[in-house]
Structures are given as C-alpha cells and as structure tokens.
C-alpha cells in the first residue's frame, strides 16, 4: 500500500481500523475520513484497501457489520467492534507502542555502538 506519504503495512491498517471503531459503529468512508484527519494526511492510504481489510476483520470475528442509514439518509454498511475485536485492539495497541518506543529510542540515541 503506497502513496505519497508513509507506507502502511497490512497489520497497521487493521489496527487503525480497530481504533477507528473503538468509539462506536461507523461506515467505511467515515473510517477513511478519520484516518485522514487524525494523521493530518501523513498516512495517506489508498482508500479502497480499507474494504478488504474490513471484510477480513469481519471474517475473523473482530468486527461485525450491519446495514444502516447514513447521516445524509443513504444506505450504508456500519461496522462495530465485537468483544473479541476490542480485546485484540488493546493487545495490538500495547504491542505497537512498545515497538514504536523501542525503535524511537534507538533512533534518538546518541550513544555509539561499542
């Protein structure tokens, strides 16, 4: 998945989606908008790639979907976290932060390798 911004790995997309759903049911477009706004357009992904990721999450049972009516009165598919999805989000967030902190610490380090 590549765009002008930073490259995003499969796992990262799924994590972002889970996070986006943590406030309640939303549709795919809203997730795309949320990622765009929250990251200040740094992580610009091909929006289409969200959908296979969403469907995979649904298949895994972390996310469930239902058709609803959008804010502008259109039929849209809403996704929400399942209990398992929520647990997954917690676990992956922790793992991701640990990983990012470690990498950041290394990159910021002023000590030279022995």
């Amino acid at each position: 998945v590549r765009h002008q911004g930073v490259e995003l790995r499969q796992g990262a997309i799924e994590l972002l989606i889970l996070k986006a759903l943590s406030w309640g049911p939303v549709h795919g477009y809203a997730i795309a908008r949320w990622i765009e706004q929250t990251t200040g357009d740094v992580l610009r992904l091909e929006e289409g790639s969200l959908y296979p990721a969403l469907h995979r999450l649904e298949e895994k049972g972390w996310v469930e979907a239902a058709w609803g009516i959008s804010e502008n009165n259109r039929r849209a598919k809403y996704y929400s976290l399942t209990a398992r999805g929520r647990r997954q989000l917690r676990a992956e967030t922790a793992a991701w932060l640990r990983y990012a902190e470690a990498v950041t610490r290394v990159l910021r380090s002023g000590v030279q390798p022995a």
Binding site: H27, E47, K77
Partner: protein, 932 residues
C-alpha cells in the same frame, strides 16, 4: 457518525447477495468522496476523478471483497445446515426412542438385509471383480484365452497354453509391450520332518516387469538377467513376514523347494500375491524349476526339451501387456496367427519324432493335437477373474455364474427386508397420524415434514449399517470361507470398498423403505385424523401393507425353492455311486523324485509305507496305485488283437492304473465278473488285466471279455489276459461319463509308471487317520519331502463346490428371508388386530365366540401367506429354468422341493399370527365401546 443506534432497527444478518452488498458499499464511499469535493467547489467530473484516484483499483477491491464474503457465506450456510440437521436428528432420535421395540426390529431387519449384501459384495468383489493387487495398470494386462476344436470335446476355450505358444507369442512385439508365462502349484519347502507345503509360481523372466511389480527388498528377475533362468527365488511379502519373521538378511539365503536349493534374491512388493487363482508364497524362474514342477505333478520320466519345443504340455497361463493405442481386435488377430504357427510347428515336430511305438502322455485330460485347427484363435481376456472366467467354459465360468446368482439372492433378501421395513414404517406412520396431523395443523410445511421423516429413515439406515457391519464381521469369515478358494481367506476386515457399498446400500434401502410411508404420512386428512384419533378409514394403506406382505412371502418362496433345488443336487451328487468310497478313503503322496529316489527305491519306499500304514489302528486296508481319481490319469497305446482301432470316448482314454491286489477292496470298487488281482499275479507270472464295465461293453459288446487278450503299449507285447471286470469309476467328473479304464498288477510292471499313491481305507473317521498316516510315512526317512495326506473326498470336493455353495447360501438366505417374513406377518397381523379392535368388539358383542375371532385372524394370515406362496411358486418356476444348468440330476420344477417349501411357509405364516390372534381373543367389548 450516527449518535443514535437507529441503524439497529435495520439490523439483519449478512445479506444473501454478497456481491450486491460489496458493490453498494464501494459506490457509497465513492459518492461520499465526490460530494465532499463538489462541496469544495470542484466540478463534478473532477470530483469523480479525484474520488476514484484516491480509492485506488476499485475492481480489485471488489474482487477481494467478493472472495472473502462468499467464503464467509458458505461457511455460515454450512454451520446453519448442520444446526438444522442436528435438530432434525435429535427429533428423529426422540421419535425412535418412543417405540424401542419397533425400532429394534426395523434396525435389525434392515441390518441383516444390508449385512448379507455387504458380505456378499465383499466376497464377490475379492473373488471376481477386483484386479489382482499390486499390478500396475491392470486394465492393460491381459490373460490370453485359447480356443481350439477337439474331435472329442468340440470347441473349447481354455486359459492355459504350452511353452511353445509363449515362445512364439513373444514375437508379437507390435501389439504387446511384453509377454510372460507362469504356472502355479504347490510344492514342498524343506525336507524331512520340517518339510511343509508352500504355493509357488514358476514365471518367465518378463513376469515381474510386465506386471509392474517392484521389489520390497533385493531385486526381481528381469529379461537378460542371468539369474532369471537359474535357481533363484523371490519371496512373497506375506510369506517373508509370516514364515521368516521379515528377516532383513534373507537375501542370499538358500531355500529348499521341491528338493532343490534356490537362492533368495528378493522380496516382492507388499500386497502382491500373484495373478493366479490362489495367492503365491514364492516365485521361481520357470526354466529353473520346470523339471521339479512336473515331477511334483507326477510326470513319468524327464520330458526334456519336449516341454519347451512341443505342445504336449499345456500348463502355462500366458500374460501380455497390451500396447496402448492398438485395437483389441488387432492384438487378437496377431496373437491368433502366432498361435496357429505354434500348432503347425508342434504337429511337424511331433510327426517327425513319433515312431510306431509313439507314446503320448495325457495329464489332466489334455493332449496335443495332430492337425492345425482352422478354428484355433486367441482372445485377450481381462485379468479380473470374474470377467475372464465368464469367457471360459467349465468350472471357472460355473463358479462365476454361481457367484452372480448369490449376489442376486442377496439383493432379494435386501428387497424382502425393505418390504418389511416399509411395512413396519407404514404401520408406524399410521399410528402417528395424529401427531403428524397436529404438526401440519400447526403450520409445518409438507416438504419439511417429509424431510424429517426421511431423516428418521436415514438415522435408521445408520443404525442398520452398524448392525450390518457387525453381522458382516461375525458371519463374514464363515460366508467367505464358503465362497473363496481355500488359502485366500486373507483379511476378513471390512475394507473401504465394502464399507462404502454397505453405506450406499443402506442409504438406498432406507430411501426405498422410507419414501412411501413418508409420502403417505404427509398426506393425512388433518381434520379426519384429529377427529377420529387414528382409527379412521385406512383402506388403501391396508391394501398396500397386505400387498407388501404377500411380496415378502413370494420372495421367500423363491429363495427357499432355490435352497431346496441345490440341496437335492448336492444329495444327488454325493450319494451317487462313484465306483469307490471317497468318504472313507485317504490318499497319501510324497514326491520322491524331489529327493532324488530311483524308481526302484520309490517302489520300495511305497511298499514299506503300505506295510507300516496297514498295521496302524483304524486302518482296514492299504494299497498302492499309479492313477489318482480326480487328479492324475494316464493313457497309453493299447492294442486289441482282432480290432483295427479302439473306439474313443469323449473324455479320451483308455486310462490305465497299476495297482496292488488290495486296491479294489481298499477303494470299494466292486469286481462284477471274474476275479481281482492276487499276490500270485507277480513279476514273471502270466500277464493279467482287469477292465472296466464300459471298456468291456465297448470292446466286446456281444461276448464275455474274460479270457480275452489285450496288448499294452506295443503289438510286440505279450498278451495280458482279462481276468475280471470292475465297475466303472468316476475318473475326472461328477457327471457319469462313460470312459474306458483298465487295471494291471503293479508287480508285473507292464507299463511301469513311476508315479505312486498310497490309498488307505479307514474303519472310522478318515480325518483322524491323517496325522498318524503322515507321521508314519514321514518317519520312513529323514530326506523325504512333505507327505500330502488327504481324503479322496477332498479331491472331489472342488467339483461339487458350486452345488454345496448354492445349497448353503440359498439355505442361509432362505432361512433369513423366512425369519424376516415371519416378523413381517407378526407385525402386520398385530397391526390389523389393533386396527380392527372395534370390529372385533362388535363381533364379540353380537355373539361371536373367542374361537371364531382366533380363526378369523389365523385365516387372514393363512390367506395372505397362501397368496404369497402361489405368486412365489410361479415366480420360482419361471426363474428355475435359468438355474437348470447349475443343478445336478435335479429337475428345476422338483415337486418335492415345491411341496416342502409350501408347507414350511404356510406353517410359519400361521405360527407367526398366533400371538396377534390370541391378543384378538382378549379384546374386551365393553371397554372398547366405552372408549368411543
């Protein structure tokens, strides 16, 4: 973002149309993006283009989503179906558990019917339908069948040929990839006290390559291999495991087979047991063991190169690997040309050598032909035994045909079982009318109801299969023992093929037995059923049930008549006078040629053996003879002064046997005129002979044969005076066939055969003497090969096998059918009684006696059975015509058989209805009336 979970109102599970949902979702996204850009003042074209650009490859995204969605849907459907089926299954289990007795009877009936089929199929499959195990591309491997016309036997097709035929057929390289020949038989492994019998196959070098068999250990002989004609041996995997404990260092070990040492060079692949009629333990090169093979059969003298250069010895089965793309007819034609060339070559060579004292040897009734036969032909036959056998005449085809009859019979038993099960299910569905009506009234669809009833049937089939598998396990050994040739018992476990067939048959049976009741049950008149509580009008259904009962009885009659006809055949075959008493006589042979005995030494050993054995307790008398009924016959040139030629009979001859004086009393052959041999008929004494009745009649039709002269072998031989006439004996066939036989005193050595057998007459059970006799012979010398001691009856048995098989199987199936039919009568009559309770109550109320009621029910049962009997008898009489060729001296319309079967069936029908009839007499009119 929606604050309010209003969407929940629209909650539905995954839409059924996966693709449309994905399309809608993607379209929604693109549209939202587009509107956003439009709101920013973009032109609608630019907005659309930008939305699409940001989205990426929409087609790929859709495709990915379709795949995921469809996968999910499929999985969900499976889960849902399983859940629904589980529900139906639980429902079915509950339904059956409400009537445990009925359920047991139904499952048992079905199980027995299916079980019989499974066993039958298993046996037939192994016997006839399956190509030999371990053969690569068995459909390309063909056995060659040879057709010839003989003056005395007409057109004959046989599976055996001579080495010369094989030699020439190898030239058919344009139609065959390879040609091989083999012979199989039994021989002795080791010598002396530890000697034991093994089955061996003599094979030409192409054998293993042609069949595509690989070694499990060591190597296998191949063309061009020096060892391929030498004294080497290949062990069967089973034999290696069983007899040698799977010894990994077996290669290079020497085995003494037929008295000759063979070096083990390999073990054949696991599962391969040869392509002959019986599994083989050891394979040896044909040229390396041919001499021992023929000595084992009792060939007098060394055949030398005649074995390979003439057609005097017809002993090989020829295999060919049919080349792909060659039409079968072309391969046949090519092989036929070579076969005729072989016949011509044989005639030429035989003529060139045959002098005035020409000598021909007939073994097993086969002799060379003099002229090239224009009808001679070769046909490529399958190596699947059933297919090959049907193309042959004689015993093989007979056995295959009997097996097919047995399959048909198993099918009939299944049919009876199905009729019974259908009947019981009908009764059950009638008693459940109320329940079913309620269900329909509550809005259950008819399809769903039928489905549930079918699930009940399949559950029944499943239980039935278990019963069937148990039955097959328990009875399989017995049944297969009757069907399969001895020694090939192999594994009795149900294999996958048989199991699949069982399941398929059970499923089909359940469907057959369940569909009618299910359809009927789904059509109850709701209002009627609810009102009358199930006691309403049942006319049509009652007729169906009674019809099924009649059908069962009729089919039972067919099976029982079959059993009776075979029983009569066996009786006729086993009680006829064979000219000797096979049941009390033992035959002992030990192959002394293998141990290198000279002829004089052989005679001496047999004499000593006769002497010792005749003193064993339980032995009446013992005698030596050169020919053995049903195994070995000899024929030679015979000159009768005053006659130009000797008439021939269909089976050839005249056959000779050199015997000791006790021979006739030992075998129980009566001397009709003149005298038997005595010890005075010794070497140097005047030559004497005894002829058979047929020989006497054919040679001297108007005169007494006593005192006449015959010359054995040559014109120049001195006269042998005929001193007695013996009754005819069966030489080779169960059917009485006229054949000329004569006997000569062994001591006078007029023909000097060098193959001997010891005959022993037992006072009591001959089986009990087998051990002592064998031990006595074996103890005579430490270098003796295995001594075979068998009853004379066991030599004859293979010839009566098909009748005995038919008797047992028809009997077994008939009994089974009878039991099932009896259960059917019981069930139907019980139901009739409970259905007619009101009628019976009324009858009682208006003055009928209990006896009248009893007679009413019994009479009804007798009528039904009688109808079945009549139909069955007609059916059996029609079918019996086709069984005629399988019977022995029994009319297919034997009145005794039909009469006995009729009585048996009527008795069973009446007895089975006693219980319901008794119950009918105990109906209490008052309580019945009040209940209404």
């Amino acid at each position: 973002m929606v604050g309010e979970p209003r969407w929940r109102r629209y909650l539905r599970f995954w839409g059924t149309d996966v693709r449309r949902d994905v399309d809608d979702e993607v379209a929604f996204h693109l549209e939202m993006r587009e509107r956003e850009y439009e709101a920013l003042g973009w032109s609608s074209d630019a907005a659309r283009a930008e939305a699409r650009r940001r989205f990426g490859d929409a087609a790929a995204v859709r495709a990915a989503c379709y795949t995921i969605g469809e996968r999910r849907l499929a999985r969900w459907q499976r889960v849902a179906w399983r859940a629904a089926f589980g529900h139906d299954l639980r429902q079915a289990v509950r339904a059956w558990r409400r009537q445990p007795g009925l359920t047991a009877v139904v499952a048992l009936t079905l199980g027995l019917g299916v079980g019989v089929n499974a066993v039958m199929f298993g046996a037939i499959d192994r016997l006839l339908l399956r190509p030999p195990a371990g053969v690569r591309e068995p459909e390309r491997v063909k056995r060659l069948h040879f057709t010839q016309t003989f003056s005395w036997a007409g057109r004959v097709t046989e599976a055996s040929a001579s080495y010369l035929d094989y030699d020439l057929l190898r030239g058919a390289g344009s139609v065959f990839d390879a040609v091989a020949a083999f012979a199989e038989g039994q021989t002795s492994l080791g010598l002396g006290a530890t000697a034991r019998p093994v089955r061996w196959t003599l094979a030409t070098p192409e054998y293993f390559g042609l069949l595509g068999v690989h070694p499990a250990l060591g190597r296998l002989p191949a063309p061009g291999d020096e060892a391929a004609d030498g004294a080497v041996a290949v062990l069967g995997y089973g034999f290696w495991q069983r007899e040698l404990g799977g010894d990994p260092h077996v290669l290079g070990r020497a085995l003494t087979l037929a008295g000759k040492p063979f070096t083990v060079i390999g073990v054949a692949a696991r599962g391969f047991t040869g392509v002959g009629t019986e599994p083989s333990d050891v394979w040896v090169p044909l040229r390396g063991a041919a001499r021992e093979y023929w000595e084992g059969i009792g060939l007098p003298g060394d055949p030398g190169e005649d074995l390979y250069r003439t057609r005097s010895f017809v002993w090989l089965t020829i295999l060919a690997r049919w080349r792909p793309g060659i039409p079968l007819a072309r391969a046949d034609a090519e092989a036929t040309v070579l076969f005729r060339r072989s016949l011509a070559l044989d005639a030429e060579r035989t003529r060139a050598r045959r002098g005035p004292a020409g000598r021909s040897v007939a073994v097993g009734g086969v002799a060379g032909e003099e002229e090239v036969d224009p009808t001679a032909a070769v046909r490529l036959a399958s190596i699947i035994p059933g297919r090959a056998q049907l193309g042959l005449g004689g015993d093989d085809a007979q056995r295959a045909r009997v097996a097919l009859w047995l399959v048909a019979m198993a099918g009939v038993v299944l049919l009876i079982a199905c009729a019974n099960v259908a009947n019981l299910l009908l009764a059950r569905s009638l008693s459940r009318r109320r329940e079913l009506a309620v269900r329909l009234a509550l809005g259950m669809s008819r399809g769903r109801l039928v489905w549930q009833l079918l699930v009940e049937c399949f559950l029944l089939a499943a239980v039935g299969s278990v019963v069937a598998a148990l039955f097959a396990r328990l009875s399989g050994g017995v049944l297969r023992g009757m069907l399969l040739p001895e020694g090939s018992a192999g594994s009795l476990a149900l294999d996958r093929r048989v199991l699949l067939v069982t399941l398929a048959v059970a499923g089909a049976a359940a469907l057959l037995a369940g569909v009618v009741p299910a359809l009927q049950a789904s059509r109850p008149d709701v209002v009627e059923a609810l009102k009358s509580g199930g006691a309403g009008v049942v006319g049509a259904r009652g007729r169906l049930r009674r019809g099924l009962l009649v059908l069962q009885a009729a089919l039972s009659v067919v099976l029982l008549v079959g059993a009776g006809l075979f029983l009569r055949s066996v009786r006729a075959a086993t009680t006829q006078d064979m000219g000797y008493d096979p049941r009390t006589v033992l035959v002992a042979t030990v192959n002394l040629s293998l141990a290198g005995y000279s002829d004089a030494a052989k005679r001496e050993l047999y004499r000593t053996a006769r002497e010792r054995v005749s003193h064993l307790p339980g032995v009446v008398s013992a005698s030596i003879g050169t020919a053995i009924p049903f195994r070995l016959s000899f024929s030679d040139r015979l000159i009768v002064p005053g006659r130009d030629s000797i008439p021939t009979t269909r089976d050839g001859g005249p056959y000779d046997s050199e015997v000791t004086p006790e021979y006739f009393t030992t075998l129980g052959t009566r001397i009709l005129r003149g005298r038997g041999f005595t010890s005075a008929d010794a070497f140097g004494a005047p030559r004497v002979a005894i002829v058979s009745e047929t020989m006497a009649r054919l040679l001297w039709p108007h005169d007494t044969p006593l005192g006449k002269c015959i010359k054995v072998r040559a014109d120049t031989a001195p006269c042998s005076e005929i001193v007695g006439v013996a009754q005819d004996t069966h030489r080779q066939a169960i059917e009485p066939t006229p054949v000329m036989q004569y006997y000569l005193p062994l001591d006078q050595r007029q023909i000097d055969r060098t193959s001997y057998a010891l005959f022993i007459r037992a006072a009591g059970d001959p089986m009990a003497l087998i051990g002592p006799v064998r031990r006595t012979i074996q103890s005579l010398s430490s270098d003796l090969p295995y001594a075979h001691v068998v009853t004379l009856q066991s030599l004859i048995d293979p010839s009566t096998r098909s009748w005995r098989l038919g008797e047992r199987m028809f009997g077994l199936f008939g009994a089974l059918a009878l039991v099932i039919a009896a259960v059917g009568v019981l069930g139907v009559m019980s139901y009739e009684v409970s259905r007619r309770t009101r009628e019976i109550a009324v009858r009682l109320a208006v003055g009928a006696g209990r006896g009248d009621i009893f007679r009413l029910v019994i009479g009804d049962a007798a009528r039904l059975t009688g109808a079945g009997l009549a139909i069955g008898a007609l059916l059996a009489a029609g079918i019996a015509r086709f069984v005629r060729p399988l019977l022995f001296q029994t009319s297919p319309h034997d009145p005794v058989v039909f009469g006995v079967v009729g009585v048996v069936l009527l008795v069973v029908g009446v007895v089975a209805s006693v219980l319901p009839a008794h119950r009918a007499t105990r109906v209490d009119p008052l309580s019945v009336m009040r209940a209404d």
